[in-house]
Chain length 185, copies 2
DNA sequence: TCAATCATGTACCAGATGGTACATGCGCCG
DNA sequence: CGGCGCATGTACCATCTGGTACATGATTGA
């Protein structure tokens, strides 16, 4: 692990806990035990650091999902495990996720990268899963969108209220609703 | 309309479009055609302004919902209209909503007010609606949570991808799923 | 008309900000 | 050993930040 990677990892953790918008390079540097000179040295500028952070967070989540999908046959089971994975990290992951998403909604900075992260990939992968279960194209796209929305909405709820149990049962019952929907004509 | 209200309204619009975190009092003042002196005069401080903004946004949304609920008998119809109301304003409302929500997730500032806004009220009102349809307590709570999560997740999707049509059909089909769920034993 | 209250503009403050020039360490390879 | 390149620390810069003191304009009520 290079010194840069070390700084990057600690920066992600700090941003997740304390927010991106309100954190200056100096505050961050003091918080993770380095100097603001180092951050500019390794990442060129504040914008460079943010870009690296976005990339790192995106790759970590996508890697986790890919591994779950690869190691589990049943897509519902993989989905349940991924929900668990995300919800476990809700307190630290959700604030960063939703904060960065607002940048994507408004444009700069890093809007293109963030849009790709939030929009593509996820719903495509989910729709693929439904299609493999024999659902027709139109239905699969909507189900993927709904599942994604449900997961993000429940993640939001967990992060704000801290009520993990309620969100878990909501997710379980949502899966049951989808299963019933698929079995129906 | 007092001068203060005028400034507050324009501030909300500016924050929605350009973000809270990256906007200084001076930038905001220049953007809405006043001086940063005026903002400090009317709101005391930056924190005071943000508090007023949060309060104003919350009240506006809750008023809209209350009016829809009061003027429509069928809760599904009121829900559909409220979704339309929110989705119409997604581009300007969602970024502000999700940005402020990260403040609530992390604590200060205005965490208490924001928590109340995001957590209570909404799901309670929804659960009441389901209970009035004869759903049992446990089921109603979960359905309220799911409906809220679905709406917020789809709002997120609309704000990021701009695909309103897909979100609309997803919402319509979700309502249908709930209706079927309620008719089932 | 005149005072008084509210609103607004100008100018300033101390501190923080992102960024950089420069000097110094440290470890690796010849 | 010597030198060289990466890493790190110090000090500084121009600019911007939130906030305030003070003077002035506008409005209104007696």
């Amino acid at each position: 692990m290079t010194a840069r990677d070390e700084l990057l990892g600690r920066s992600v953790a700090w941003f997740a806990e304390h927010g991106v918008g309100d954190t200056s390079l100096r505050t961050l540097a003091a918080g993770i035990g380095t100097s603001h000179r180092m951050l500019n040295y390794h990442f060129g500028s504040r914008a460079g650091l943010l870009g690296a952070v976005v990339e790192a967070v995106e790759r970590a989540e996508q890697d986790a999902l890919r591994e779950l999908v690869a190691t589990h046959e049943d897509p519902f089971e993989a989905g349940a495990l991924f929900w668990q994975h995300v919800a476990d990290r809700a307190a630290v992951f959700a604030p960063l996720f939703f904060e960065l998403s607002t940048h994507a909604m408004r444009g700069e900075p890093h809007a293109a990268l963030l849009r790709r992260w939030f929009a593509e990939g996820w719903s495509d992968a989910l729709a693929d899963g439904y299609r493999r279960l024999g659902v027709d194209e139109d239905r699969a796209a909507t189900l993927a969108l709904q599942s994604l929305a449900m997961a993000r909405g429940l993640l939001f709820e967990v992060a704000v209220t801290g009520d993990r149990a309620a969100a878990d049962t909501a997710m379980v019952r949502w899966t049951a609703m989808v299963r019933r929907e698929l079995e129906a004509p």
